[in-house]
Structures are given as structure tokens and as C-alpha cells.
């Protein structure tokens, strides 16, 4: 069976955005349940942390480049640097590791 490229793309756009919109239509009020509130408080940090490591080590040609970029990024963020400076530091460190 021949599949249509446009139908594939339509499915991708539809399903991805439905997943995003669903909670917004269902949850309009403040959640007061203590466990749920605490759970949602931790979710963003945990998700981003899980997605950062070990993935950052797979982004560079040698895992060490990504790992060292991670360490420099953590130190820069610890001292209060913003989004862009931290990202730039990581790129720079990764780039240096790539060419060494």
C-alpha cells in the first residue's frame, strides 16, 4: 500500500498538538491536592535533567566533550549566568573539545 506523505505529516501535526492542548482544556483551575501540586512542582526540573544527561554526551563525537561541556555549564549556571551565556559556554567548550 502506498502511503501519502501529506497524510503522514498531517497525523504528526495533529497528534503532537492534541497532546499539548488536552490538559489546557481539562484543567482550568488551580490544583489544590498537595501531592499533585508537589508532583507538578518537581516535573519540569526532573524532565529537563533526565533529557540533559546522558543525552549531552551523545551530541558530541566523543562523550567526554559533552561531559566537560555539562560541567562548565553547571558551574556557569551556579554562578547565576543566564540562558544564553550558559549555552554559549557549553558550545564553546564542546567546540574546543571537538577540535582538540
Amino acid at each position: 500500500m502506498k502511503h501519502s506523505l501529506l497524510i503522514y505529516l498531517f497525523i504528526m501535526v495533529l497528534v503532537t498538538n492534541l497532546i499539548r492542548v488536552l490538559p489546557m482544556t481539562l484543567i482550568r483551575r488551580r490544583i489544590t491536592h498537595p501531592f499533585l501540586r508537589s508532583f507538578l512542582y518537581y516535573v519540569p526540573y526532573v524532565t529537563l535533567a533526565v533529557m540533559t544527561f546522558p543525552a549531552i554526551m551523545e551530541a558530541t563525537s566523543s562523550p567526554w566533550g559533552g561531559f566537560i561541556a555539562l560541567l562548565f555549564g553547571i558551574v556557569a549556571a551556579w554562578f547565576g549566568w543566564g540562558l544564553f551565556p550558559v549555552a554559549a559556554v557549553c558550545c564553546l567548550v564542546a567546540f574546543v573539545c571537538e577540535i582538540l
Binding site: L5, M12, V13, N17, I19, M24, A49, F53, G73, E98
Partner: protein, 240 residues
């Protein structure tokens, strides 16, 4: 547009720019895969503009390339993007109560890992103009990167691509480290996340899990444990 809303929108655009630079590099490599699936530059631009999901798009383009069924594409989108369900749910709690449903839905559509990250880091309630500004800039660069990747293929040297792709993780780090410093429970959750995520990628059997599934499972488990061990105090900062 009110001046205040305007300046928030511009603030969002400014914060969206570094995100967009990281996106461009990532979607450039995504474009190379999209080209293998037979997408034209325009299809890549529109598809990426409307979808905005790195892992999700990567999965779908790989499926298209092997002529998989539509059902598999639906399943792939659900598994790789389920984390957006959690992120949107978290964002429902960031709005002032007078924000309209339409705006909430539009903000939901802005949810990507990074735009969510800066939105949740926004002090106090989230004005929708902020993610709108960030989304406009970053999504345009995301879509452009895909299109350029489809057309140009491999013109950037690999070490430049590698350096760029670290930018996204750098932004994640900038979002999670400051609250880890302030709140020890967040810090410990972040350390646990790093460790468990790494373990799940190397341990036999568990490592067969896709990165998307791993993200969902670990997020639910670690956030639930943290919520049980160290529940947060209920404080309603809704001034509306």
C-alpha cells in the same frame, strides 16, 4: 497591543533567540533525515513549524522513510511527545485565573522542551505574550533549519554541528541549576535524575527503552518520589 504586553512579547522574542539558534543546528540535522523520507524543503518548513518536536519529528521521519503504517506514526507521536502532556499540565498552574481558554490553548501549542523551560522559569504568573514571543522566533528558526537541512544537506562541518547541538542542553542546565541551588529537594531530584537517566541508558534490558519513554517513566517516578518525600507548601500566588 498594550505597552506592557508588548514589552513582555519582546522579552519572549529575546529569550527565544538563543533557543532558536540551538534549534537551527538541531533541525538542520533533522532536515537531512527528512530529505531521506522524501520531504521537500516546503514540506519540511511547514511540518516543522506546525509540529515543533525534535524527538517526535525524528521518529516520524524515520518511520516515513521505511514506509511504516499510519497507526505506527500515531503511536510514535504519542510516545515521543507524552512529556508535553506533563509539561502542559504543569503550565495550567502558571496562569492568572483570568487568562482565556483560547490563550491557554495557544500557549499549550507553544510547548517545546525549551519554551516550556523558560516559561516555567518566568517569575510569578505566566503572561501568554511571553511564550508567544519566544515561540515565534524559535519556531521560525526551527522550521528554517529543517528546510535548509533538506536542501543543503551536509555543508556544515560535523564538529560545528556537534558544538551547536550542545546549546540546547546548555539552556536546560541554565534552567535547572539556579532552583537546585535555592531548594535542596530540587537539587537532589536533579542529581537523582542525572544518575537514573544514565543508569537506564547503560543497564541491559532497560537501555532498550527509547529516550522518549525513558523521559516519561523517569519523570513520573522521580517527581512522584520527590513529592512524597518533600511535599511543597501550598501557597497561592494568584493575584488575579
Amino acid at each position: 497591543m498594550r505597552t506592557e504586553t508588548r514589552s513582555i512579547f519582546l522579552h519572549g522574542m529575546r529569550d527565544g533567540f538563543p533557543i532558536g539558534m540551538g534549534y537551527f543546528a538541531v533541525s538542520f540535522s533533522l532536515g537531512i533525515i527528512a530529505a531521506k523520507a522524501g520531504l521537500t524543503a516546503w514540506m519540511g518548513f511547514v511540518g516543522s513549524f506546525l509540529t515543533r518536536a525534535s524527538a517526535g519529528e525524528y521518529g516520524v521521519y524515520s518511520l516515513i522513510a521505511i514506509g511504516a503504517s499510519y497507526v505506527e506514526v500515531v503511536a510514535m507521536c504519542m510516545v515521543t511527545n507524552l512529556r508535553y502532556l506533563l509539561m502542559s499540565t504543569a503550565l495550567t498552574q502558571k496562569f492568572a485565573s483570568n487568562v482565556s481558554l483560547l490563550k491557554r490553548i495557544l500557549v499549550a501549542c507553544c510547548v517545546t522542551d525549551e519554551v516550556f523551560g523558560i516559561s516555567i522559569a518566568y517569575p510569578g504568573n505566566l503572561p501568554p505574550a511571553y511564550p508567544f514571543g519566544a515561540m515565534l522566533v524559535s519556531t521560525t528558526m526551527w522550521a528554517s533549519g529543517t528546510a535548509v537541512g533538506i536542501v543543503a544537506g551536509e555543508i556544515l562541518p560535523p564538529h560545528v554541528v556537534a558544538a551547536f547541538s550542545v546549546a540546547l542542553y546548555g539552556m536546560f542546565i541554565a534552567i535547572i541549576i539556579p532552583p537546585s541551588k535555592r531548594d535542596r529537594a530540587v537539587g537532589l531530584s536533579v542529581i537523582a535524575s542525572f544518575l537514573l537517566s544514565w543508569l537506564c541508558s547503560v543497564l541491559p534490558t532497560v537501555r532498550e527503552m527509547s529516550a522518549g519513554t525513558r523521559t516519561i517513566v523517569l519523570t513520573i517516578v522521580i517527581a512522584a518520589v520527590a513529592a512524597c518525600v518533600k511535599p511543597v507548601k501550598i501557597e497561592d500566588h494568584d493575584e488575579a
